[in-house]
Symmetry: C2
Subunit: 655 residues, 2 copies
Amino acid sequence: MPSLESLDPAWLPAEAFRAVGGRRVCVRGAGELVETVRGEVREACGRFGGEVVGEGAYDLLLEVAEPAGSGELAGSSEEFAFAFDGTRASVTASGGAGLLYGLFHVVRLGDSAFSGPARSELHSPALPLRMVDHWDNVAVHPVMGQVERGYAGGSVFWVDGRARGDVARVRAYARLLAACGVNAVAVNNVNVHAAEARLLTERIGEVAAIAEVLRAYGIRTHLSVTFAAPIVLGGLGTADPLDAGVREWWAGAVRGVYDAIPDFGGFVVKADSEGQPGPFAYGRSHADGANMLAAALAPFGGTVHWRAFVYDHRQDWRDRSTDRARAAYDHFAPLDGEFAEGAVLQVKHGPMDFQTREPVSPVLGALPRTRFAVEVQATQEYTGQQRHACWLGPMWSEVLRFRPGGEQGPSVGELARELVAVSNVGDDPFWTGHPLAQANLYTFGRLAWQPDAEPLDILDEWLRLTFGDGPFGELRQLLAGSWATYEKYTAPLGVGFMVQPGHHYGPSVDGYEYSPWGTYHFADRDGVGVDRSVATGTGYAGQYGEPWASVYESVESCPDELLLFFHHVPYGHVLKSGKTVIQHIYDTHFEGAEEAEEARRVWAGLKGVVDPERFARGAERFEEQVRSAREWRDQVNTYFFRKSGVADERGRHIY
Amino acid sequence: MPSLESLDPAWLPAEAFRAVGGRRVCVRGAGELVETVRGEVREACGRFGGEVVGEGAYDLLLEVAEPAGSGELAGSSEEFAFAFDGTRASVTASGGAGLLYGLFHVVRLGDSAFSGPARSELHSPALPLRMVDHWDNVAVHPVMGQVERGYAGGSVFWVDGRARGDVARVRAYARLLAACGVNAVAVNNVNVHAAEARLLTERIGEVAAIAEVLRAYGIRTHLSVTFAAPIVLGGLGTADPLDAGVREWWAGAVRGVYDAIPDFGGFVVKADSEGQPGPFAYGRSHADGANMLAAALAPFGGTVHWRAFVYDHRQDWRDRSTDRARAAYDHFAPLDGEFAEGAVLQVKHGPMDFQTREPVSPVLGALPRTRFAVEVQATQEYTGQQRHACWLGPMWSEVLRFRPGGEQGPSVGELARELVAVSNVGDDPFWTGHPLAQANLYTFGRLAWQPDAEPLDILDEWLRLTFGDGPFGELRQLLAGSWATYEKYTAPLGVGFMVQPGHHYGPSVDGYEYSPWGTYHFADRDGVGVDRSVATGTGYAGQYGEPWASVYESVESCPDELLLFFHHVPYGHVLKSGKTVIQHIYDTHFEGAEEAEEARRVWAGLKGVVDPERFARGAERFEEQVRSAREWRDQVNTYFFRKSGVADERGRHIY
């Protein structure tokens, strides 16, 4: 395995600590996280000539103060106050986690923390839980490998059926996560196979060893478990959530977990989904299933994350009445109010599956009496698999700013209790395969801390931390537009799923058209798209509240970028942009491929500016992006030209 | 592993030996194969009350006679004379192999060998070599498994990286092969991976152990080798066929093989094909490559089978000038006359890759001064993967009866020196997965013995041997039409390759349309098919001699079943049948799926007639065939309806 020395420091290069490390810093308080802060400060001061001081004069004070009871810091151990009095800066927190986040806040500010007008600010996370879910297998899965949908090598936690035991790597990872505000990690795949199931019981010690490392950076450990655990591990004849023996078994299993990991975060469960077992087998509801696990976790303060990704994955493509997009709402909306306090419904941000463009899931906002987490996918399964540069900040921000009840109502970011990302990290030296994919993980953490943050501000933070000051304006522009670029050369107008089956990389326009997965575009010689209106389609548009139900219902008001998600229209239909659908397809695909070439040019210009290894890795990725973007362009354009027979207005080459 | 007792006797059930075993049989001669005959007779007589007699009275004489020099039996040790004098039957051969084939001839005749008019017949194989190629890996390949394109479980020879060592199974297999006339087996995959490469050298002992078992039934063993062997095994810096060191290395390697296997048959080589190494890397021709191996084998009488399956598998789908169908002819026709005597060019029967319907390869007949083998595929990669009943006798017979120079010229069966089949056998208890797929292996062997045999006569032999006399008329009809049925519900009119990528099972109309494999149908809203004419297309039709070049060149004379292979035509084009192309597609697909249902009904009627295990296995296969045939029907019909917009004349449901 690569040594730690070869690991990229990502957004925490030594240089990022210059402002802190060159000053006199006083750290006050006790406890494991305060010791972590002290260690960070000591390391920085050692490097940059500053000084860790005791009671004397200081430039920066980092202090855990007793909660004042009625004071500002009474609420959460994660919040902190930052102050600058014109001379000295200080971070005050009521707990070690807040102090740690405060330290990283000062790191982000750099010298500006120690200049400017006197000020005092309170910082606290908008969402109390900010989790990264690893779809990491312990044993290499014959099809999915070590990391399901992983594009950055093996797992940081597991290798070949066992715990990797690479403490230094996990610690470096925890530090990166803490620096962007992540406070929870689920260490194994939601598809729980045989070896992974046993992490819950006889292999819990391996999880505890990881948890110990993560804890030093304020991160709680969560575990994906199989709903069938009482059968496969406990030898019971049932996993019925209302069965007394089953409940007892889970209570005992949870006790064992907390014996090993006193601050264990809880379970993640994918039940009745894509072949995983669940409560349906016993005629029970998903609330019954989730509440049973919540009850087992409650005495210890743990939470069950219950995924809402439930749909029929053995659909018949001939059956146009079944609409996969409807499934989560149909399954879960009727259960509002039935979930226990310790159950969190974990909902993918869109109704399908992390496509490049989807509407916001109608489940978000439809269950006012249910705690929910929004799940996004940092791993770029459908967005270029970390071979294409595709910064997802704008996509996630759109979801979090979406207001299910209209402009006057709260946003998804305000309604959600948690934000969860499927991890894009592996044992790759750059953590994420494409060095620029680091920006997605960073942006996720920062948006989870503040969902209404301006994503471009976060991108600037990431750029500055990672690269320092320098000629990165074009790189910023490249990344800022990279999602839009990717959207241009892939599936058009929100229709989605024109990917190669199985691995999901590269184009296959009909790849999922006759499959059992519920993912169709219905292109014929006259038009394309899925009619999800109430009036003539599957009725999905009616799952939204107003104004969205009306907006999406009609072809006239539906936004262009979602048109084919909601409507089947002729190729000659004129978009709000003034272009026909077919010409839009041609134009965006030519543009997108050109933009990929432009991105490659921008990266080539950074030779000698960024370090050689990073440059080389990026250059190789941009080569592939250009090749793949052309393939997308030509396959999609050719497909629709052959179907529609409509020539490109501008006479460009379509095969 | 299943015990031998659980192995299906296939076309050699004990009952098949009743006529022989109930009589007085005299076996005269000496040698290993005569001992095999003696053992067969002893076993049969023991079971059915007959008697193995010495010099006294007999009903059947099986005798190896000294070659008479000028007599009938001077030619080959494989031929035999069968005679019936009104009372007694006799088989006379000049060698043990002929005696063995004569015994199985009598078995096939049953009681009729001992009745009817007095007669004397000479039987000899039309093709001296009748080989089964196993695409068996020694080590399980991560993608292709133990047997590449195998649909009958694991290998009969290898398991998990080692020789299986199951002598009884290999012996039972050799006996089945001998009973249909096969006299050569290649024991490993033509894609030679790392473990398999070493069979040539340090692991030759494992091959010798298999050869010893096969030898008892007159079968010589062949080995697939990698052209890069001098590098990967010999540590040389080159595999250049004109390099003296390379030639010396091969000479030494061949000596080692013959030390271990004195009657070794020779090599099979897939060079410069789908990623396998070959002479192109050294700027040498395929004749150079083949002749180098032929020279090494010549002192021992061995042969190199050099596969002609050379094409560009990294084609760009946008490039319409490259035509994979042309590749074998373009590569090999210019080399006619350059191949050594000990080199046999092994040519797939069609220009593409074992599709359900292809024209006969123009290579067959284009190299009059080159010995060639016709390669067919018993393993049903593209013909239902032994889940669909698809008896390939008529397809192979059409190939063998095809006359490249027109009606007055010789047939492929007359021009060919050998017939080779890719094996459909594995460690499945029924040998071939689908019990009815056994008929393909049997038919192959018998056609290799007599290429102009009537395939339905061979089917009758197989039915009678396997099932005995009984109500099998409907089963015969089912099998006789099964290839036509399969063709109806899959890719239409010879266009081919509308299969799922990778595993090749089930429909995906565009599955290979935008791939690098050179396999396209070019369907658009107006028409479908590949223009391979000389006048306006790729020129492939011009690779044939007359009359075929002219027949295929024009839409008017091209046979319907190959129309889309040679021409791109509008959906409204009227076939010789009087139907339009689009209506033909609809009609055949509805018919094919109905015929699959009818086949299932026929099989269901055999409950209680065939043994329960065979019945159950068949019933499960026919269920799957019906399901899959409907899927083919609906995907293909829907695809072409969406593209063409033409409604079915009969108003049937298209989705």
